[in-house]
Amino acid sequence: MTAIETWWHVVFTFLKLSLFSIGGGNTLLQAYHHEAVETFGWLTNRQFSDLYGLAEAAPGPSSMFVGLLGLGAGWKHGPAWALITGYSAELAILLPSTVVMLIASVYWNRWRDSPWRMAFERGLGPVTLGILFSVSVTILRTANHSLIAYGLSFMVCFFVLKTKISPLVFIGICGLAGVLGFVR
C-alpha cells in the first residue's frame, strides 16, 4: 500500500467517525480500535494501548490520541509521512464536529424553547452513558493483560470517583508500577 493510500484511509476513517463522537472523545475508542487494529492493521493491540496511555499522560486534550493513530499508520512509510498522516488524522477527526459546534454555539440560545433542543439535551445522555461503559470494557481489555493491571485500573477508577486527589498522582504510581515490572 502506498503512502497516499494509507493517508486517504486514515483521513476518510476519521472524517467519517467525527460526528459520532458524542459525550466527549472517549466514546469512539472502540471504533478506533476496530479500524486501526482489526480493519487496517495500522497498529498492534499492544501499540494501541501503549499509545493510549501516552496520550492520556501527555498534556493537552486526550482526544489527541487520534493523531497518534495516524502517526502509527504512516510510520511504515517513514517519519515524514508519519507526521503528515498524524496531523491529517487530527484535522480529520476535529473538522466536522468543530463546524457543527461552531454553528451550535452561535444558535444554541436562540433555540431555547425548541422541543428539538429539549429532546436532544435529555435524549442523548442515556445513549452516551451506554457507549461510555461499552468503551470502558474495550479499553480495560485492550490495556490490561494481567490481573494486577486490572486491579490497578479499578483502584484508579475508585480513587478518581471517591477522592479529590489529582489524576496525575495515579498516573505516576501506575507508571512506576509499570517500570518496576508489576503490570505485565
Binding site: S49, L51, G60, P61, S62, G67, P96, A119, T128, P167
Partner: protein, 193 residues
C-alpha cells in the same frame, strides 16, 4: 466577523479578550491540565482567574460542548472563542489548546516508534495504560450518578451497551437508531410551540 452580541449570551463581565489572548489562555489550560481534569482547569483559569465569563455561562457552554459531537475540551474552546471573537476567535482558541500539546505528542509518538524495543518504555506505557483505563471507567460512573433514578435512561443505556459489547454492532448505526428512539421518548410533552 459576525457580531456575537445578538446570540443572547449573557456575559456580566465586559471582558473582551483578543485573538492572541484567547490563544495564550487556552494553551495555559492545556498545559495546566495534564493527566485529565481539564474542564476543572479551564473553569479555574477562565472564570476564577481571568473573569472572562460567569460560572453560569461557563456551565452552559460546557453543557453544549458535551451534547454536540467532538471532544469536550475542543468544543468548549470553540464556544468560548466564538463568544468573544466569532469564527476567528474559535480558531484561535482551538489552536491554543491543541497546537503545541499536539506537536509535543507527535514528537513523543515518533520517539515511541523509534525506540519501542526498549523494554522499560514498554513497561512504563503498560502502567500508564492501566491508569488511563481506570480513568475512562470512572467517566461512565460519573455520568451514571446523574441517571441513577431515571429508569428509562438506565434501560436505554443498557440496551446501547448490549448492542455494542454483546452483539458487536458498529457504533454509527447504534448511535443513529438509539439516538432517534431516545429523543422521541424524551420529547417534551404538552409544550408544543
Amino acid at each position: 466577523m459576525s457580531d456575537t452580541s445578538d446570540t443572547g449570551l449573557q456575559l456580566e463581565q465586559t471582558a473582551n479578550p483578543g485573538l492572541r489572548e484567547l490563544f495564550v489562555c487556552m494553551m495555559q489550560v492545556a498545559f495546566s491540565a495534564f493527566g485529565g481534569g481539564m474542564s476543572l482547569w479551564s473553569h479555574r483559569i477562565i472564570v476564577e482567574r481571568r473573569h472572562w465569563m460567569t460560572s453560569e455561562s461557563f456551565v452552559t457552554g460546557l453543557t453544549v460542548a458535551r451534547l454536540f459531537p467532538g471532544p469536550n475540551q475542543i468544543n468548549m474552546s470553540v464556544y468560548i472563542g466564538s463568544i468573544f471573537k466569532g469564527v476567528p476567535g474559535s480558531l484561535a482558541a482551538i489552536a491554543g489548546i491543541i497546537l503545541f500539546p499536539f506537536t509535543l505528542l507527535m514528537v513523543l509518538g515518533l520517539i515511541y516508534f523509534q525506540i519501542s524495543a526498549i523494554s522499560e518504555v514498554n513497561r512504563l506505557l503498560a502502567g500508564l495504560a492501566a491508569a488511563a483505563a481506570g480513568m475512562a471507567l470512572s467517566m461512565g460512573f460519573k455520568i451514571l450518578d446523574v441517571y441513577k433514578t431515571d429508569y428509562l435512561a438506565l434501560a436505554i443505556a443498557v440496551i446501547v451497551f448490549v448492542c455494542l459489547q454483546g452483539f458487536k454492532f458498529p457504533l454509527i448505526p447504534v448511535v443513529l437508531i438509539s439516538g432517534a428512539i431516545s429523543m422521541s421518548l424524551y420529547w417534551p410533552r404538552g409544550q408544543r410551540r
